[in-house]
């Protein structure tokens, strides 16, 4: 454990992991309950098309990726209204559109030689000090956001129409929420990797949903599970010489399976 912490990149990986482990499940729970589990994967593909557009038009690609992601998120919000009962359909549509645009732009430009994917796939081991500041800033922003709007986000997730009639400014909160999500996903996936961001938003939440006895518990438990996966994942991946991102994700999946299995056993007896 100590050996591991000698190195700056390992310290930063752990720190970034711990922050991401709070941030992802905390927004993930609202996303999952609103059937937007796959928004991370969807926005990452849109970001890809943003990078391509940036390269084609000569604009700084990451900025373009951000713009595209936020626009896509707003698009998802619009489409969600058209498919009230099928929010995940909106995600799927935007995902397809994202890849479609990327592919067409690449073929249109004809000489894009930037490994586009490289723009998206961060890695928790290559977090820089400047990234740390960004991730910490995002972390504080999100935690504040969720803390301040906790009861409103909860009500909207449970019953959007009801929330509106309770006087909650649903439209504005939704807009704000989705924009923050898009920014968080786009920026943090570049730092710690899209795999990690989108998985940590979903799998710990799924595990906590199996056992949680209240919404608050579900939120807290998912953070605990995420942190467990992150910390043990970084340690295990170090000693077994495996990719850290993948190991963390697989650990969270294993925790999920254990929780499901444990619950099954409990119910039988």
């Amino acid at each position: 454990m100590l050996e591991l912490l000698q190195y700056g990149f390992m310290q930063r990986a752990l720190m970034a992991g711990i922050i991401i482990g709070i941030l992802c499940p905390l927004i993930g729970i609202f996303l999952v309950l609103r059937r937007m589990s796959l928004i991370g994967d969807s926005l990452s593909h849109v970001a890809l098309s943003g990078v391509a557009a940036g390269i084609v038009s000569g604009v700084y690609p990451l900025a373009m990726a951000l713009v595209f992601s936020v626009l896509a998120a707003l698009g998802i919000e619009q489409l969600r209204k058209k498919y009230e009962e099928y929010a995940e359909l909106a995600i799927a549509i935007i995902l397809s559109a994202g890849i479609g645009i990327a592919v067409v732009l690449i073929s249109y430009a004809k000489s894009i030689n930037v490994d586009l994917f490289g723009y998206l796939f961060g890695n928790i081991l290559t977090v820089r000090s400047s990234d740390m500041r960004l991730i910490t800033g995002l972390g504080i922003l999100i935690i504040m956001f969720v803390k301040l709007l906790y009861k409103e986000l909860f009500y909207i997730a449970f019953d959007e129409e009801g929330a509106r009639i309770a006087g909650i400014p649903v439209k504005r909160i939704n807009l704000f929420f989705i924009v923050i999500i898009a920014m968080t996903i786009t920026l943090s996936m570049r730092i710690v990797g899209v795999l990690l961001v989108s998985s940590l938003m979903v799998i710990p939440v799924a595990a906590s949903l199996q056992v949680a006895k209240s919404f608050k518990q579900a939120a807290l438990l998912s953070v605990v599970i995420a942190e467990l996966s992150v910390v043990s994942g970084i340690i295990i991946s170090y000693y077994m010489e495996l990719a850290s991102g993948g190991t963390i994700v697989l650990l969270s999946v294993i925790i999920l399976l254990l929780v499901i299995g444990f619950k099954g056993v409990m119910q039988k007896t």
């Binding site: 309950l33 301040l148 709007l149 906790y150 009861k151 409103e152 909860f154 009500y155 997730a157 449970f158 019953d159 129409e161 009801g162 929330a163 509106r164 009639i165 309770a166 006087g167 909650i168 400014p169 906590s208 949903l209 949680a212 006895k213 209240s214 919404f215 608050k216 518990q217 579900a218």
Partner: protein, 249 residues
């Protein structure tokens, strides 16, 4: 008497056919308004239009004297929609959490739920006799228990006007009786205005002090309570055979 809601010349149709044709309706402070009518006659549609969930194609709604689009004071309104229990049963929320969420207009944005709010929740749950279930997951309750929770959610705010779309659906007799008793008390003692859609005409005719009957895309009648009159009107709407089922308690 203050006019709380005013439906003015409202028309509405989902696709082509009009469901509401030039409906006019005023609701005054202290009213206990029962809305009846056959299935598909537009009762729920009318409620939704009053609450700005649907927009009328013609006409306008005034709520507490303001045009509904400019109305902000939603804490004054309680609503139990039809099929309230038709939510996502996998949602991991306790009864308490659900009821507390409706305290929004009391608490205000950005602020947390405090102990005193939790006591209000507890009181609302007591009213529907669900206080023992406060920490249960809403999805793990029986259908009738869920309905009671949604009634508590509408009451927690101490609203000035309650819109209830078939609130007693799936609720057992004893609880129904308590519920109607409570409504009477809220209305008579606390001067809360109540708008209730129900098929339970027997009870409705007994309890309400005003009465609206929908049919044929229109508000057919709209009278103050007078049993004789109502029976005649109901016969007109539902047909002659109707008589049999009207009973008073």
């Amino acid at each position: 008497m203050k006019k709380l809601v005013s439906v003015k010349d409202v028309c509405f149709g989902y696709e082509n056919e009009l469901v509401l044709k030039n409906v006019n309706l005023d609701i005054y402070e202290g009213d206990y308004l029962g809305i009846v009518g056959p299935n598909g006659s537009g009762k729920s549609t009318l409620i939704k239009i009053m609450l700005n969930i649907l927009k009328p194609s013609k006409g306008s709604i005034e709520m507490f004297g303001k045009n509904i689009d400019d109305f902000r004071d939603w804490g004054k309104i309680g609503y139990v929609r039809q099929k309230a229990t038709s939510f996502n049963t996998g949602f991991p929320a306790t009864v308490e959490e659900i009821v507390a969420a409706n305290l929004f207009s009391r608490i205000g944005i950005f602020k947390p739920i405090t102990r005193s709010h939790r006591e209000m929740v507890y009181k609302a749950l007591e009213i529907v006799e669900m206080e023992k279930f406060n920490r249960k997951l809403i999805g793990n309750l029986s259908g009738g228990q869920q309905q009671k929770v949604f009634i508590a959610r509408a009451l927690v705010n101490s609203p000035e006007i309650l819109f209830l779309d078939e609130p007693t659906v799936g609720i057992d007799l004893d609880s129904q009786r308590e519920f109607y008793g409570l409504m009477e008390k809220l209305n008579k003692e606390m001067h809360i205005t109540i708008v209730m859609v129900s098929h339970d005409i027997g009870v409705i005719t007994e309890k309400v002090n005003r009465f609206a009957c929908m049919g044929d895309s229109r508000l057919i009648c709209h009278t103050n309570n007078s049993h004789l009159e109502i029976t005649d009107i109901l016969k007109e709407v539902y047909g002659d055979k109707m008589n049999l089922l009207i009973h008073r308690h």
